[in-house]
């Protein structure tokens, strides 16, 4: 009997949507599902996880776990695997997941598949789609041998089901002793504009074409009007105009909004890899040859300094008409 153990991803001490997505998926398949909850002051989230389908929550709640810590988190997850007799271990494809998943897989002597966008679970047999080569190809992967399956799933891959009110069964996991070889001393939190990019319905994103801080501010009214997430290319982040937390791309955030508005973005494959799953793409760029126009549903060739204020005004007008 398959037993799925899901490692919860948290932000600001709350379970993030990608975790709810994979929980919903497991629940939808009728699979025995548990979860691992790690952090400080997060035990109340056990109820949330239970509401979405995890019957047992393995909790490690301690001030020493407030910040992501490779050694401690790996040990806790390993303990939870043993206690739960899990046959599958699922992560979300976050930076934390990317750091921990291969470590725990290796500890258990098994392989893993990361950043899965499509998944088929037939008992213990799994077929997973993993985008490779900057998303130019998809690898269809299977697990050899009978061991525990370890995998990470990209956010936005599944629908979230309805939550129920369920009392969680909580199992406490021992808090590991501090490993002094790697000590996370502090975290410099970056403010992220607007709402979380991976959960936003609309994302407005800027590239080098925005030309500086002035351009960032020019776009802001549009972001606010649409209640959008405010993203950026690596180039705009490298130039210091946007925080790295806003980076969308192959190695930044991967987003799947209803609408992606690309402003002053050329459309390099490393950026496309992060947003090509958007339902509708609107692009503004002064270069008619920009590769972004090959994938945009609507393209405006023009100076974004002229276009963006008009765009903001027109959308605002149309919005108030429809209310």
């Amino acid at each position: 009997m398959e037993k799925i153990l899901i490692v919860a991803e948290l932000k600001n001490d709350e379970v993030k949507k990608p975790t709810l997505e994979i929980l919903s998926y497991a629940k939808g398949l009728g699979l025995d599902t548990s979860a691992v909850l790690i952090g400080s002051g997060i035990e109340d989230q056990a109820e949330v996880l239970a509401g979405y389908g995890a019957h047992t929550i393995y909790v490690a709640d301690d001030p020493s776990l407030r910040l992501h810590n490779t050694f401690a988190y790996t040990e806790i997850i390993h303990e939870a695997v043993s206690q739960s007799n899990a046959t599958q271990l699922w992560f979300t494809a976050s930076e934390s997941g990317a750091d921990l998943m291969p470590r725990i897989a290796a500890r258990m002597g098994v392989g893993a598949v990361s950043d899965i966008t499509k998944l088929r679970v037939e008992g213990h047999a799994i077929t997973a789609h993993h985008p490779a080569m900057s998303s130019k190809v998809i690898q269809e992967c299977v697990f050899e041998k009978d061991e525990i399956r370890v995998l990470s799933i990209r956010g936005g891959s599944f629908e979230i089901s309805e939550a129920e009110t369920v009392t969680p069964n909580i199992e406490k996991v021992p808090i590991p002793k501090k490993d002094i070889r790697a000590i996370v001393q502090d975290i410099v939190t970056e403010s992220t504009e607007g709402i979380d990019l991976t959960e936003a319905k609309v994302v407005v994103s800027v590239g080098r074409g925005v030309k500086g801080e002035e351009g960032i501010e020019l776009v802001r009214p549009l972001v606010n009007l649409l209640g959008a997430g405010y993203g950026a290319t690596r180039g705009a982040c490298d130039s210091g105009w946007m925080p790295y937390a806003a980076q969308v791309g192959q190695t930044g955030k991967k987003v799947t909004p209803e609408i992606y508005i690309a402003l002053g973005i050329s459309g390099a494959i490393q950026h496309l890899a992060g947003m090509i799953g958007s339902k509708l793409i609107l692009a503004v760029n002064s270069d008619p040859e920009a590769p972004i126009f090959n994938v945009a549903d609507y393209g405006i060739v023009g100076d974004l300094y002229k276009v963006v204020p008009i765009l903001t005004e027109e959308i605002g007008k149309t919005k108030s008409k429809s209310v």
Binding site: M133, E140, E147, C237, I310
Partner: protein, 266 residues
Amino acid sequence: MKIVVLIKQVVDVELNIRVMNDALVEDGLTYVISNWDEIAIETAIQIVELVGGGSITLISIGPDRVQDALRRGLAMGADRAIHVLDAAFDGSDSFAYAKTFAKMLENQDYDIILGGKQAQDTDAGLTMSMLAEFMNLPQVTNVSKVVSVDKDKCTFHRRGDLGNEVIELSLPAVLTPNDSLFEPRMPSLRGLMMVKKKPIETVSLSDIGVDPSLVGKTGRMITVNRLIQPEDRKGGQVFEGEEEEITKQVVKLLAENEIGKESLFT
């Protein structure tokens, strides 16, 4: 400071990537050092400069052409290279790579083990962390800043989900730099000429004590059954002309579009 950088030669993903009969079309493919591995080589060079001395060894696994990648790394500034050449390795997954590197690195006393955070062909991002686990070493993935490096204690920044984590690390350790840590240098003319004097050692799996049944098609944990080429997203309408006019036109079309209507105007 003894540094080793594990590099992978990959197809250049910018050019001629086509899938036919579930596999990559060989015709038109060119090969490069995986981008993040180049950043790792640059990081090694920067750290050696920072601490005032050290040695950099490169290791790569693959067919003959891998020597080109190693030579480029040597031209950038690495000191020596090891090429693992063995047909039995073909078809290996990240697990097999990590096992092989772990065997090669045991008892070698490297202070820092650097590698790409993901390979540009697979985008898997597993090998280096698996290696760190096999060797029971601390790791910092996604390194965004090198603050200080000392024989026993270093400070790095790691880009995590919430921001920059400040990590105090003991050596030996495994590091994977992030995209923006350093810009890989172009080999200088002098660097290119020095390559001839730098040794490239070629070894087989048995030379390094790795059982062939633990790697390749026999030993791998994950199999890629086939490659699928996602359907090219087709471009839509591109408007050129007077900015005000075309922008108004597009907004009108968006209001009539199912998705646009729902997501932009309600």
